[in-house]
């Protein structure tokens, strides 16, 4: 057991990515691999898991109390970081990345380090696309929006079905809303390549280090924080993934 006290960082810069998403750039960097996450301590409020968007930043969408507090921080404010935690992505060969909404965050460092050939980026609407400009320089970028205000009119799975030769990719890295990821897993499975998929899962987390059990998934009892957050498609195809998750009290709820 090593000392894992939170490292206190100062917010240096706050970047508006979309009307609901902000990047907080810190005064220090962490030794991350793409797909790593940290536990972010918002003093007086809570501690929440968050993917790294770079070694020195997180990119946050306002969804609850802690993220509302994070997105209202200004330069000079201080927060605590524990991590990096988790296994991260392990891509090889030709790589397709697929992201929905802020699911792009853990995949972005993968594109920055040159690992991604093709990137499918989805969002509800054009103004909610995160990192689209950067990704178009780094990858062969394809865009989908639910309302058709940018790119393909529909879901990322629509782009997969119409424009992508799945079998030509060795690794398919995915992060986004669970039903989107489930749709992608179903397609990989139909093509007989579930094992090429690497899915970054979200589950409620309390400790982040594989002790409390709040993030475990059925039926194998794997910890999303420690054994994941990235799982291959064949690891999760016969699991609770796409069906239910547990809340803070450990009660099941549909996803």
């Amino acid at each position: 057991m090593r000392d894992g006290m939170p490292v206190v960082v100062t917010v240096r810069e706050v970047i508006d990515e979309t009307p609901t998403v902000k990047t907080l750039r810190f005064d220090s960097e962490f030794a991350i691999r793409p797909g790593h996450f940290c536990m972010v301590w918002v003093p007086g409020i809570d501690e929440v898991p968050m993917g790294f968007s770079s070694p020195g930043s997180i990119t946050v969408q306002k969804v609850g109390e802690a993220t509302a507090a994070l997105t209202s921080l200004t330069p000079g404010d201080r927060i605590g970081i524990r991590g990096p935690f988790g296994n991260g992505f392990t891509p090889n060969g030709r790589v397709l990345a697929i992201a929905g909404g802020v699911g792009v965050v853990p995949l972005y460092p993968l594109a920055v380090n040159g690992s991604v050939d093709t990137f499918i980026l989805g969002a509800r609407t054009g103004t909610e696309l995160v990192f689209a400009r950067e990704l178009s320089d780094l990858t062969d970028l394809k865009i989908a929006t639910d309302d058709g205000t940018a790119g393909y009119h529909g879901f990322v799975t629509g782009v997969m079905d119409s424009e992508i030769d799945l079998l030509s990719y060795d690794t398919i890295c995915v992060c986004g809303p669970e039903m989107m990821m489930k749709g992608i897993l179903d397609r990989l499975s139909d093509a007989g390549i579930a094992d090429r998929g690497q899915f970054s899962l979200h589950r409620y987390m309390k400790c982040g280090v594989g002790v409390c059990g709040s993030c475990t998934i059925d039926p194998e009892g794997l910890c999303v924080c420690r054994d994941g957050p990235v799982f291959t498609g064949d690891q999760i195809i016969n699991s609770e993934f796409g069906t239910y998750a547990r809340d803070a009290s450990g009660q099941r709820k549909r996803v």
Binding site: V8, R78, R82, V211, T216, D218, G250
Partner: protein
């Protein structure tokens, strides 16, 4: 080092596959997670503590690893009665259901939900950081006795888990014994805190919490030793056990078995790792060493 003969193990009425039991609240929140710990070598498992109503637990940070231990203030998160279906796939297994409540009647109510499912009950009279629960009642001998009587009335094995945060743990152990406990579990976490120097505030969301892991092993050992002198029911040693040598030392102090929690942080197969070293065909029977340090 001395090794043990792999024999039948039964502690306080619960039959176990070995002397190494998963401690309450560590990876014990779901049936699948408990099954995984069984597959990874736990001779028996104790569930997360279950209470009369669902609880979300304290705001984070809830758990921080330290050099030589963990500090936590989870705040007893639990799904209450909705935990019953989690144990469906574990019927017939050595699963002990940990219970907490604010009154003897609440302990009895929770126990009734698991009457036909649990191999036994463990009363959490010892959580140091949940208002009105755990150690708040576990330091009062009359309350300890009343809660134990309520659960022991089901006629199932009834373990009582004690807090080290008292002046005389022996008197609490005797109260549990008088209430009908079949075994004592010692100890729960030791009251503690850490402060972030940079932020000038306690680091746990609950401000205070409890320490577990190797840091508390000598404290737990002393509690087991004292209980062995004060009581006559079996004792299960818990607190900082992370090796075969720790297990032997706990047994010499008076423990009939051990519980292991924090050591899964460094090795999720710690049960198997310890068992491989603890047992051998030419080992001694456990009875030969339990309490031998009192001679």
């Amino acid at each position: 080092m001395i090794t043990l003969l792999k024999d039948q193990v039964s502690v306080g009425g619960v039959d176990l596959d070995n002397h190494l039991i998963l401690a309450a609240g560590v990876l014990g929140t779901t049936g699948a997670s408990l099954s995984r710990m069984r597959r990874q070598g736990a001779g028996g498992v104790v569930t997360k503590s279950i209470g009369p109503v669902p609880k979300e637990g304290h705001a984070g940070p809830c758990l921080i690893p330290l050099a030589g231990g963990l500090i936590n203030a989870m705040g007893l998160p639990n799904p209450s009665r909705n935990f019953v279906p989690e144990l469906e796939t574990l019927s017939g297994e050595p699963v002990v259901v940990s219970i907490f409540g604010g009154t003897p009647a609440e302990f009895g109510e929770v126990a009734s939900w698991f009457e036909g499912i649990a191999a036994g009950f463990e009363l959490n009279l010892s959580c140091p950081h949940a208002e009105g629960y755990g150690a708040a009642i576990g330091s009062n001998p009359a309350m300890v006795r009343a809660c134990t009587e309520e659960v022991a009335a089901f006629g199932r094995p009834t373990w009582v888990k004690l807090t080290p945060n008292v002046t005389d743990i022996g008197s609490i152990g005797r109260a549990a014994e008088e209430g009908g406990a079949t075994a004592l579990v010692a100890i729960n976490t030791v009251r503690a805190m850490r402060i972030s120097i940079d932020l000038r505030r306690p680091v746990l969301g609950n401000r205070f919490g409890g320490i577990s892991g190797p840091m508390i092993f000598p404290i737990a050992l002393r509690c087991v030793y004292d209980l062995y002198e004060a009581c006559s029911i079996p004792i299960i040693g818990c607190g900082g056990v992370s090796s075969a040598a720790d297990t032997i030392e706990m047994m010499m102090a008076g423990a009939s078995a051990v519980q292991i929690g924090s050591a899964v942080y460094d090795d999720s197969s710690v049960f198997k790792t310890i068992a491989d070293e603890l047992y051998s065909p030419d080992g001694v029977p456990a009875a030969e060493i339990v309490g031998c340090a009192h001679a």
